[in-house]
């Protein structure tokens, strides 16, 4: 079986027709992982037992001629910040080394209930903090398209595994760009659903007002199929929305003619790589050919998105990460004589430099005397950033912009300068702060052969229109 071009429909059809068993399909992926992932390092743990039990169950359904669920036999991978029973959950951190969660995240449970075969857990930046996957305690992930370059972060393993055909689809998480940016760097599709659209139950929290769970896939249709399975209210997550879930896959067949496409001028300023700019302009020309109405819009507070994000995200992280204290799970500094020494020594040994940096920054921003100047100020600017989007969406149906200012950079290129690394998220964090949905779709490559992604951003809870435009972009690439 040809794994490189295997999609969800292809995998499911092959399993349904008996061309391949779900068991053999899972084995083929494990074989490929054993060979290819030595260089890429995308998987941190394999859940072979659970995968094979599920594959056998699917094969049983096929043998009995019973109806197959929508992801029947589809091999998937899970970012290691999501709990999955029977597999370790490290969040890319030493502080959770060896931790086995006693339950499944809702997103994980929904995938398996829909027939997916869970291959294992995927590498990421520690606690999802990073833009290059160089902050994992378990080694860098390499970009499958150029092994001397980063896959992006923080969901670097999730993007790389799909790009290298080690899984048909994967789950990632996005707090400031962690799905869209690695999708762009690795040349795959990555979806940031609207805040509240997908349950976060079982997600190891980084910044709770920003964290979201979403899919990576090879095609827009596959991503829509996985999102359909993930989306919807969950009683275990009070922040999940009970708004009705649209028919994402069904609406892909509707034409894009007449849709109004906004082009935010602030996303095309200084610092944007000329080859990326040219690729996005080709996308906009293509959408005009499809009779979309393309018009400029202004998101005037865009330049404040990065400083706003790095106050809010780190403040929330400093609070969320206080639970890692050596008491209930994970690492404990065994030598410590008192409780407070145990806390400090455990956290010192368990957290990496970037996590410490962000905890310190967030604690500083929330500390007495600074709260109003930093945290409250950032929350007010967050309102302004969100109002920018709400005003733009009064005039247009979706926004089209770059995902990243540059293509995938070299390993080690930005590790010495945190501000430089943070600026990598310049086109992705505003959508995170505003809670809108976004998707990164491949739209060509640079002369050096590095993938370029284009970002389509949609209104709150209007993933359907966003994915429709994304699919039109995808169609242009092959025609």
């Amino acid at each position: 079986m040809e794994l490189e071009s295997l999609t969800i429909d292809g995998a499911k059809a092959a399993v349904a027709s008996g061309e391949v068993t779900a068991t053999a399909l899972a084995e083929a992926h494990y074989t490929r992982i054993a060979v290819e992932d030595v260089a890429i390092n995308s998987f941190l743990a394999l859940s072979r037992e659970r995968a094979m039990a599920q594959a056998a169950k699917i094969d049983g359904l096929v043998a009995k001629g019973e109806p197959l669920p929508v992801l029947a036999g589809v091999p998937v991978g899970i970012k290691d910040v999501l709990a999955m029973q029977g597999a370790p959950a490290t969040a890319g951190s030493l502080i959770l080394k060896g931790y086995l969660p006693p339950y499944d995240a809702t997103a994980v449970a929904r995938l398996e209930a829909a027939g997916a075969v869970l291959l294992g857990k995927l590498n990421c930046d520690e606690f999802a903090m990073g833009s290059s996957n160089e902050n994992s305690a378990y080694g860098n992930v390499k970009n499958p398209r150029a092994l001397d370059r980063v896959p992006g972060g923080s969901s670097g393993g999730s993007a790389a595994a799909v790009a290298a055909s080690l899984a048909v689809a994967t789950l990632g998480t996005d707090t400031g760009g962690s799905i869209r940016q690695p999708a762009a760097f690795c040349g795959v599709v990555g979806v940031l659903p609207t805040y509240g659209r997908v349950s976060r139950y079982g997600l190891i929290a980084f910044a709770s007002s920003l964290d979201r769970v979403g899919p990576f896939a090879k095609t827009v249709k596959d991503a829509a199929t996985v999102l359909q399975v993930l989306a919807g209210k969950d009683v275990m997550d009070a922040t999940s929305s009970d708004r009705p879930v649209a028919d994402y896959v069904g609406s892909l067949s509707k034409p894009v003619e007449g849709l109004r496409i906004g082009v935010p001028e602030e996303y095309f300023g200084e610092g944007l790589d000329p080859e990326i700019r040219a690729a996005i302009e080709r996308v906009l020309d293509g959408l005009k050919m499809e009779k979309c109405v393309v018009k400029p819009v202004s998101l005037q507070h865009t330049k404040y998105a990065i400083p706003t994000y790095y106050v809010i995200a780190t403040a929330e992280a400093s609070s969320n990460l206080s639970r890692f204290d050596g008491v209930r799970f994970g690492l404990r500094a065994a030598e410590a004589k008192t409780l407070s020494a145990m806390f400090r020594e455990t956290r010192d040994a368990g957290f990496g430099a970037e996590v410490k940096r962000r905890i310190l920054l967030g604690t500083y921003a929330l500390s007495a005397g600074y709260y109003d100047a930093y945290y409250r100020k950032a929350q007010q600017v967050r309102t302004l950033l969100t109002r920018d989007f709400l005003a733009a969406f009064n005039k247009v149906d979706v926004l089209v912009a770059p995902v990243t200012p540059t293509p995938a950079f070299k390993l080690g290129e930005k590790t010495d300068d945190p501000v430089k690394m943070y600026l990598e998220d310049i086109y992705s964090v505003a959508a995170s702060l505003a809670g809108i949905c976004g998707v990164s779709v491949p739209c060509g490559e640079t002369k050096a052969g590095l993938p370029i992604g284009v970002q389509v951003m949609g209104k709150h809870f209007d993933e359907a229109t966003m994915l429709r435009v994304a699919q039109a972009v995808e169609r242009m690439q092959t025609s």
């Binding site: 006693p102 106050v311 400093s318 008491v327 799970f329 956290r347 430099a353 929350q379 600017v381």
Partner: protein, 108 residues
């Protein structure tokens, strides 16, 4: 927030203590340098006049999601099974099976 937010070593130590982090001697100057650079970047927010702008904690409140606040969206208060104690305790660094064990809380 000052235009040039200079963080001192003492600031770093104070915040580390608040955060229950213990920094090594070579981590301290690195963190001082990085926090100063990041806070310098964040100082851009001062360019904006935000008087009268409401603070936003998360996006639900911007979308007219007031139903939650009125209590209409609360789930039924019903007893449900919780995680199995043995499975939870199996992940603990030190336990007697019923409780999490920790080192001495107060030193005499």
């Amino acid at each position: 927030m000052s235009e040039r937010a200079g963080v001192t070593i003492e600031d770093v130590r104070r915040v580390a203590e608040l955060a229950n982090l213990e920094l090594t001697a070579d981590e301290e100057p690195r963190m001082q340098r990085d926090l100063s650079a990041i806070l310098g970047h964040i100082a851009q927010l001062n360019e904006l006049d935000t008087s009268g702008i409401p603070a936003m904690a998360q996006v639900g409140e911007m979308l007219g999601g007031v139903a939650e606040a009125s209590g209409a969206e609360l789930r039924a208060d019903a007893v449900r099974a919780s995680l199995d104690r043995a499975m939870v305790m199996a992940a603990a660094p030190e336990t007697d099976g019923r409780f999490f064990k920790v080192p001495k809380v107060i030193e005499r």
